[in-house]
């Protein structure tokens, strides 16, 4: 049984460090990447199972957002312009658990896709933010 609902997750974005302004109209928020690739170390001496070594490096995380787009919203427009110009931004993701665990760091908006736009659909944008250096986790 779930311990916490996902509802209530907070995303803050700004052009300067330690953002305080929330990204509004969030329909979906995802947190991905951070892949830790392993070095295969299987040899002829292995009998039943392959072996791997930790390389000591992992990828940085990325945050996926699906927003009900409001082009007049200050932060929505900031994100569009940052993607367009390749400007470094700062993003903080706060989980809705009791301790409000969060990841904070800087990076770039690597994709900005307005999806669908059907006559009966909503105006929504998918944004991908990729941290470019180590994130700070706080619990």
């Amino acid at each position: 049984m779930a311990k916490y609902p996902a509802k209530g997750v907070i995303v803050k974005y700004a052009a300067t460090a330690t953002p305080t302004t929330e990204v509004t109209n969030k329909a979906e928020v995802g947190f991905e990447d951070g892949e830790r690739e392993l070095i295969p170390s299987t040899t002829h001496e292995n009998t039943t199972v392959k072996t791997y070594l930790d390389s000591g490096l992992r990828d940085t995380f990325a945050v996926m957002l699906r927003l009900l787009l409001d082009p007049a919203d200050t932060i929505h427009e900031l994100m569009r312009s940052h993607h367009s110009a390749g400007t470094l931004g700062y993003l903080t993701l706060v989980l809705p658990d009791a301790g409000a665990a969060q990841w904070a760091g800087s990076g770039y908006i690597t994709s900005y896709q307005i999806e669908g736009m059907t006559p009966e659909g909503e105006l929504a944008v998918r944004i991908r933010f990729k941290y470019t250096s180590v994130e700070t986790f706080t619990a």
């Binding site: 904070a104 700070t136 619990a139």
Partner: protein, 51 residues
Amino acid sequence: MDAPTITVKITRKLVETGPHRGTKGQQLTVPEDVGRHWIALKAAVEVKAGK
């Protein structure tokens, strides 16, 4: 020359930036950029020398 460091006291349950990790109440010396980031996140306070 050694990189500048800062001594901080952790105020959140846990804060972690790469290899630097602190738990509540712990006092530790970390690179200045990491420490300043923690202070900005309200996860730590600076410990002044002599206190």
